[in-house]
């Protein structure tokens, strides 16, 4: 029946990427916090790919760092290889990705949690979450009952976790750690709507059993750019990745055995993500494609395990061995860990506010895969927001609400709480309508003032931030004030870059506006250029070149924010509002948007319905 084990301000259930950021943020903001993990050796685990970042995910990591989160710094500390993806496609889609040492990442993170003031890291499976007046009680499997003011559920794939490999299936969390089997019932009792999602991971293969001789190498980019604005020590690429391809034989083996897949055999009921398809999915859905690409990535500096990206599967082990062996380089591969699919319980996120607090359960928060997302970075971003908001509420402060126009984190959360998730949600640059202003290079400009105000950015970093902002401002005005005469030297540069000559004086800013001209091109003639860090020049150049587009998006943002500022009441029955269409009434009652902006993004709410809401709000205001 349990025993009273004491009090905390915040209890975080789960010590994955969401739980870590949530716990650290709450503790750093002065809340007495406990993080509960099922297994002390699973803290900060990366059970899938040994990498952090990637398209849009890299943006999230930068944003987490700008707000004062931990993921970026730890990734930098554990970096094996860095690549800046999408170079040449424009700054909005530049994305940083790092291969990391996953064991080191986990132990660095665990150590940071252990050292954190106000934070207790405890092993224990939480089996129930109950309301106790305005407070909550969480109970571990061993019967310790903690009274807390806020609970953050960050259970990942552990909640009701079930692993599938062919016709074998068993209850399990990732990497053979036992799952959380009791909590689901307790959450259902609270009235949460849960559903089942599925994800999967490929095999890990012994490095010495791979023949790399004919495989294409993929090296890191130089110089290494860190994730964190605080990382100052230079980082080095130390590993290579390799590329190989599936072939006709791979396809044949998979198709011959497709009936043995639990997914195609109908054993898995969970909904899997389309963007993270298993190899059998790819082969069935894109039958015309002759071959599929795969990457061989090292799992760490002191392990011989290699991750085979692009080859996740839930086919039986014998089939896996057969088709892995068809691949060039893997002919004699020794599979150390088999690929598997995992099914888990998660929540319908429209039940939450953008603070990630449940609307009907004050003090209960959700983050990460539990909220229907997928990916370490998506999880960490939500964990940070949930942790901050739990702490702000306990301290009696205004909540942190990030909107779509200010960050990818805001976009991610808005998508989840407004549209819900029909499949595990992955961040993509295509999801942001404001992506020209939400770049990974200006995450600090966008979010560090918010992080500072909340209290997660220290004075030292704040001062550095202010210096950088001033340098950008000064350099921009220098560009406006500097005029070059139409010298032969200048025109030679212009012609050599494929742009037109000038016949009268031209401002430096107007030269830099030309897409063909970069800072570097003008080094020789720009003699008064001050010495500034590269990232300042980068900011200035992007601001100048994309000004027209940036201004246009800023105007859209302003329009959007006007709607966001019109707040809607939370305890209102839209059925009583004459003039709304039936579909709109139902959707509004289900999602209960907090403002007109969110209401306008709900599918099934028309512009006429928004007009009706505007009239109704202004009537209420005047009364």
């Amino acid at each position: 029946m349990g025993y009273d084990a004491g009090k905390y301000d915040v209890a975080v259930i789960g010590a994955g990427h969401a739980g870590i950021e949530a716990g650290l943020a709450a503790a750093r903001l002065g809340c007495k916090t406990a993080i509960f993990t099922i297994n002390m050796d699973a803290v900060g685990n990366c059970p899938c790919n040994p990498s952090i970042g990637g398209t849009a995910k890299g943006h999230l990591v930068r944003e987490i760092d700008a707000l004062g989160g931990e993921m970026a710094k730890t990734a930098d500390e554990c970096m094996l290889q860095m690549r800046m993806l999408n170079r040449g496609k424009g700054p909005a889609v530049h994305s940083l990705r790092m291969q990391i040492d996953r064991k080191k990442y986990a132990s660095v993170m665990k150590h940071k949690l252990e050292l954190q003031e106000n934070l207790d890291l405890r092993q224990g499976e939480i089996v129930s979450v109950e309301r106790n007046g305005d407070e909550w009680i969480v109970e571990t499997r061993l019967g310790s009952r903690f009274t807390v003011k806020a609970v953050i559920v960050a259970t990942g794939t552990y909640l009701g976790g079930k692993v599938f490999v062919g016709d074998v299936s068993y209850e399990s969390g990732p990497d053979g750690i036992f799952p959380a089997t009791f909590l689901t019932r307790s959450l259902l009792k609270l009235g949460l709507r849960l559903r089942r999602f599925k994800t999967g991971t490929p095999a890990r293969v012994l490095k010495s059993s791979i023949d790399f001789s004919d495989l294409e190498e993929q090296a890191g980019d130089e110089p290494v750019i860190p994730f964190s604005y605080e990382t100052v020590n230079p980082l080095e690429n130390t590993v290579l990745c390799h590329i190989s391809w599936t072939n006709e034989n791979t396809k044949k083996i998979i198709l011959d055995n497709i009936h043995r897949s639990p997914l195609y055999g109908g054993k898995i009921e969970g909904i899997g993500p389309r963007y993270c398809p298993s190899i059998e999915d790819k082969i069935v859905r894109f039958a015309d494609k002759e071959r599929h690409q795969l990457f061989i990535e090292p799992c760490g500096a002191d392990t011989e395990e290699m991750y085979i990206q692009g080859m996740s599967s839930s086919l039986p082990e014998d089939v896996q061995i057969d088709f892995y062996h068809t691949i060039k380089g893997l002919e004699n591969a020794l599979i150390m860990r088999s690929a598997y699919a995992i099914e888990y319980d998660c929540v319908d996120p429209v039940q939450m506010y953008a603070t990630l607090e449940f609307k009907d359960l004050p003090g209960l928060y959700g983050a990460g895969q539990f909220n229907g997302s997928s990916g370490y970075e998506e999880a960490a971003a939500q964990g940070l927001v949930a942790g901050i908001n739990a702490a702000l509420k306990i301290k009696g402060k205004e909540p942190l609400l990030l909107d779509r126009a200010g960050s990818y984190i805001g976009t991610l959360i808005d998508d989840l709480v407004t549209k819900g998730a029909n499949e595990p949600y992955r961040m993509m640059t295509s999801r942001s309508e404001y992506r020209l202003i939400l770049r990974q290079d200006n995450a600090d400009t966008r979010l560090t003032p918010i992080g500072y105000k909340i209290g997660l950015i220290n004075e030292d970093r704040w001062n550095k931030f202010l210096v950088k902002q001033q340098q950008i401002k000064d350099e921009l005005s220098r560009l406006s004030d500097t005029v070059f005469s139409p010298t032969i030297e200048l025109n030679n540069i212009l012609v050599s870059r494929g742009t037109s000559e000038v016949s009268s004086g031209i401002r430096l800013i107007d030269l830099l506006k030309r897409p063909q001209i970069s800072y570097k091109d003008l080094t020789e003639i720009d003699v008064d250029r001050p010495k500034l860090p590269d990232n300042v020049f980068e900011q200035v150049e992007i601001e100048v070149k994309y000004k027209g587009y940036i201004d246009k998006q800023l105007a859209q943002v302003e329009q959007m924010r006007r709607l966001e500022n019109r707040l809607l009441p939370q305890n209102f029955d839209y059925k009583s509002l004459i003039g709304l269409r039936l579909e709109a009434q139902e959707k509004l009652n289900k999602i209960r948007p907090v403002n007109l902006g969110q209401a306008s993004r709900i599918s099934g709410v028309s512009p006429a319905d928004i007009s009706v809401l505007v009239i109704w709000l202004s009537q209420k205001d005047k009364q």
């Binding site: 790919n49 398209t55 849009a56 993806l85 999408n86 040449g88 496609k89 424009g90 700054p91 909005a92 889609v93 994305s95 993500p273 389309r274 963007y275 993270c276 398809p277 790819k282 859905r285 894109f286 494609k289 690409q293 990457f295 990206q309 692009g310 996740s312 993509m428 640059t429 295509s430 999801r431 309508e433 992506r435 020209l436 030309r514 897409p515 063909q516 070149k545 994309y546 587009y549 998006q553 006007r562 509002l577 004459i578 003039g579 709304l580 269409r581 599918s603 028309s606 512009p607 006429a608 319905d609 007009s611 009706v612 505007v614 009239i615 109704w616 202004s618 009537q619 005047k622 009364q623």
Partner: protein
């Protein structure tokens, strides 16, 4: 929220002696000054005090569109509480729409249903107690607009626009997949490819806009469908209303195999009359298409005229027609009253609120018939202005999409990176999507996973 200038035809049905076009919003007076030339020398609308009017003409590129009187109202002393110009022009669909078009081309936006009233309320021109009736008006107009928009979606224009939109989404999808999955084998897309796709689309949009300007205007009216099983006299009735032999009239069932359209004016009401293929089960392929189209047309029509044969008993097909008319404004005609009665007229009367008994062949009660049509239409408040506005909005969106696509070309020509180009394409798609209430980004993301094999 009211910074946009909005315009709409404010008088009903557009076939009266004069029509009034209302233009509201900050800057509306100046906007109208750009189109209006007063007959009094050196006078512009901007010089006028509120509540005064001025006689002159609306000109576009030196072409005189109409002689009009403009009335100026100055904020807050107007219906909406904003600066307002009311242009009284000659009635008639053609002129009225042309004047409205001139105002829209000068930068005004087509007003949404109930938007003048909404602004009046928000600007404090109405009592708080009127809020509910304002919401009622907005939702009623919203329904009307939705119906008109649905109607517009049947048109060829819409089909062309949809095809264009699909093409743009395809390009945007490729760009998105290429950016979001840089390391997977998504084929590279070059600026030149984007440019050529966008140029094609601009050409098609140009064509669509041109067709809007030619003759589209005259086709507006209350969409009216004449329906009935074969050989009950639909074509005769259509010819009676149209005053000429339009459809092929014979005694052979199924003579009218497609929809034949005709514009008919009944006093101030303009009907767009469609004679349809008779409803019956058929194996004849051509005729079957006609029947399908008839049923389709019913869903968006403004008025249905159901014809029954007095001289024969009610058939299953008659019943089927009656069922299909549920919820659609309709009139029943019991035709061929010159022949012996076999039809259960009481049953028809129990199903329709308006029933006309007549013999179309002998033209015997045409006035009663016309009055019934007028009564139903007035009662339904079917407003051809809503139709014009739905079309105006469509055109407005197409023009905006087009200017968005020119920005795409500008960006490519200037050598900007494809991230900026993608955003401009999505802007154009969003404009086109607004016609159908879809969201561009969701479609693009869905498409990525359909078209490309990406993901780890």
């Amino acid at each position: 929220m009211s910074e946009k200038i909005i315009a709409a035809i404010s008088t009903p049905r557009g076939v009266g002696g004069i029509s009034v076009i209302r233009v509201s919003g900050k800057g509306s007076i100046l906007l109208c000054d750009g189109l209006f030339k007063a007959y009094r020398k050196n006078v512009t609308l901007s010089d006028l005090n509120g509540y005064t009017g001025c006689y002159g003409e609306i000109r576009v590129n030196d072409e005189i569109i109409d002689e009009v009187v403009c009335f100026v109202y100055r904020a807050p002393h107007s219906y909406t509480g904003e600066d307002v110009v009311e242009i009284s022009c000659h009635g008639g669909m053609y002129i009225t729409e042309k004047v409205l078009r001139a105002v829209l081309d000068a930068g005004a936006e087509p007003a949404q249903g109930g938007e003048f009233t909404k602004r009046a309320f928000l600007n404090g021109k109405m009592d708080l107690t009127q809020a509910e009736s304002v919401m009622d008006i907005i939702s009623a107009r919203g329904e009307e607009s939705a119906r008109a928009a649905l109607n517009a979606r049947k048109g060829n224009t819409f089909k062309k626009v949809s095809a264009i939109k699909e093409k743009l989404i395809e390009t945007a999808t490729h760009l998105a997949a290429w950016a979001d999955y840089p390391e997977e084998d998504v084929p590279k897309i070059t600026a030149e490819e984007v440019k050529s796709a966008v140029t094609d689309v601009i050409d098609t949009l140009d064509e669509v806009v041109k067709n809007y300007d030619n003759g589209k205007i005259m086709r507006d009216g209350v969409d009216t469908v004449i329906i009935g099983r074969p050989n009950v006299g639909k074509s005769t009735i259509m010819n009676l209303l149209a005053g000429c032999e339009r459809s092929i009239v014979t005694d052979i069932e199924g003579t009218t195999r497609d929809i034949i359209e005709e514009m008919v004016a009944i006093d101030d009401i303009l009907l767009k009359l469609s004679d349809t293929a008779g409803i019956r089960h058929t194996d004849n392929v051509i005729e079957k298409i006609g029947v399908d189209r008839t049923m389709d047309k019913l869903k968006s029509c403004g008025l249905a005229i159901a014809v029954f044969d007095n001289s024969s008993v009610l058939t299953d097909y008659d019943i089927q027609i009656i069922e299909n008319l549920n919820g659609i404004p309709s009139i029943a005609i019991v035709n061929k009253t010159d022949l012996e009665n076999k039809l259960d007229v009481e049953f028809i009367k129990s199903k329709f609120s308006e029933v006309v008994l007549m013999s179309a062949k002998y033209d015997d009660d045409i006035n009663n018939f016309k009055n019934t049509i007028k009564r139903v239409i007035y009662y339904q408040k079917i407003d051809s202005n809503t139709v014009i506005l739905a079309n105006a909005r469509q055109r407005d969106k197409i023009l905006k999409a087009k200017s968005g696509l020119y920005e795409v070309l500008d960006a490519i020509n200037a050598g900007l990176t494809l991230d900026a180009v993608t955003v401009a394409i999505e802007y154009a798609i969003d404009e086109l999507c607004e016609l159908t209430g879809e969201k561009a980004s969701e479609q693009i993301i869905n498409n990525i996973f359909e078209k490309f094999c990406v993901g780890k």
